[in-house]
Amino acid sequence: MELSAFTYTVYIATTPERTWETLTSADMSPLFWSGCAIESDWRPGSRVKLTREGVVRSSGQVLECTPASRLSYSFIRRYLPEYESEGASQVTFEFEPLGAQTQLTLTHSGFPQDSKIRPVVAESWPIILSSLKTLLETGQPLSDIRRSAGQLVATAGGC
C-alpha cells in the first residue's frame, strides 16, 4: 500500500521552454531551490543529483525527458539514513502552454505507507515552485525559505 502522490499545479507567465530551461539548469536552480543545484545531462538513464554546498542531498535517474513538455526522474534523499532507506520515489513535471502562460504540474509519487519523505516534499515543493514562478515573472526569486529547528524561516537575502 502506497501513500497518495503529491501533486501541485502552478501557472506561470512565461513559455514552457523558459520554464524548462530554468527548472533544469544547474546555474539557475540554486536561486529558487533553497540553494540546491540540480545537475544532469537529462538523457534517459543519466544520473540526476541535487547538491547544496557541495553535498549531495538527493539523487536519481532520468526516466523520461521531452524538453519543454515532460520530465520524469527517480528521487532518493541521500543526506539522512532514515530517508535514504525509503528508496526511490518518482518526480514528474508536465509543461502545458496556455496562451502566454505555462501550466506546470508536478507529481511526486511512490511513497511507502510510513513515508517520512512525503511530508517533507509536500512542504518543500510549494516553496520551490513559488520561488521559480517569482523568478520567471519578476527576474528575482523569493528570499530563501528553509526549515530550521522545526520552523520555516526566511533569510534576508537570496541563497
Binding site: Y11, A13, K133, S143, V153, A154
Partner: protein, 154 residues
C-alpha cells in the same frame, strides 16, 4: 482514510495586510479571480458572494474573520445545479508572515466522498492563487481564468 479536502500553499512576496485586502475586497478580486467580485461586509454570519456581472457563482457565510491572519467562509456553488445540490463546503485562508514574504495556505473541506465540487475547486484554486500571486508581485494578473470549469486565456 483521509477526509476529502483540497489544500494548497503558495508563497508570495507581499505583506499579510495587502494579501488580506486582495482576498476580501471586490475591486481586487475582480482583477485576478476570473472577473468575479467577492461581496460581504465580513461580519460573523454575514453573507459572502462571488458575483460575476449579475450571476452569483458561489455563496456562503462568514465563519471566521481575523485580519490579517485567518478567514473562513462556507461555500455553495450556485451557478451549476449539479454542484449546488451538494450543499455547503467551507474554505479557510491562513496567512503566515515569513521574512519579506507570506505563506498563504488555502484549505477547502467539508466534501462528501465522490464530490464533484471538490474536483471543480481543485482545478480552480491553482489558477486563482497563481493569478493572485502574480497580481501582488507584478501589479498585473495572469491572462487566464476559468468559467464553468473551463480554462480561458486572454
Amino acid at each position: 482514510m483521509e477526509a476529502p479536502q483540497f489544500m494548497y500553499e503558495t508563497y508570495i512576496a507581499t505583506t499579510p495586510e495587502k494579501l488580506w485586502e486582495a482576498l476580501t475586497l471586490p475591486e481586487f478580486t475582480q482583477e485576478y479571480w476570473s472577473d468575479a467580485r467577492i461581496e460581504s461586509n465580513w461580519k460573523p454570519g454575514a453573507p459572502v458572494r462571488h458575483v460575476r456581472g449579475d450571476v452569483t457563482l458561489n455563496s456562503g457565510e462568514v465563519l471566521e474573520y481575523d485580519p490579517p491572519r485567518r478567514l473562513t467562509y462556507s461555500w455553495t456553488v450556485r451557478h451549476l445545479p449539479e454542484y449546488e445540490a451538494e450543499g455547503a463546503s467551507r474554505v479557510t485562508f491562513e496567512i503566515e508572515p515569513l521574512g519579506p514574504q507570506v505563506r498563504l495556505r488555502v484549505t477547502h473541506e467539508g466534501f462528501q466522498p465522490g464530490s464533484k465540487t471538490l474536483t471543480l475547486i481543485g482545478g480552480g484554486w491553482p489558477i486563482v492563487l497563481s493569478s493572485l500571486k502574480t497580481f501582488l508581485e507584478t501589479g498585473a494578473p495572469l491572462g487566464i481564468g476559468r468559467r464553468e470549469g473551463k480554462i480561458y486565456t486572454s
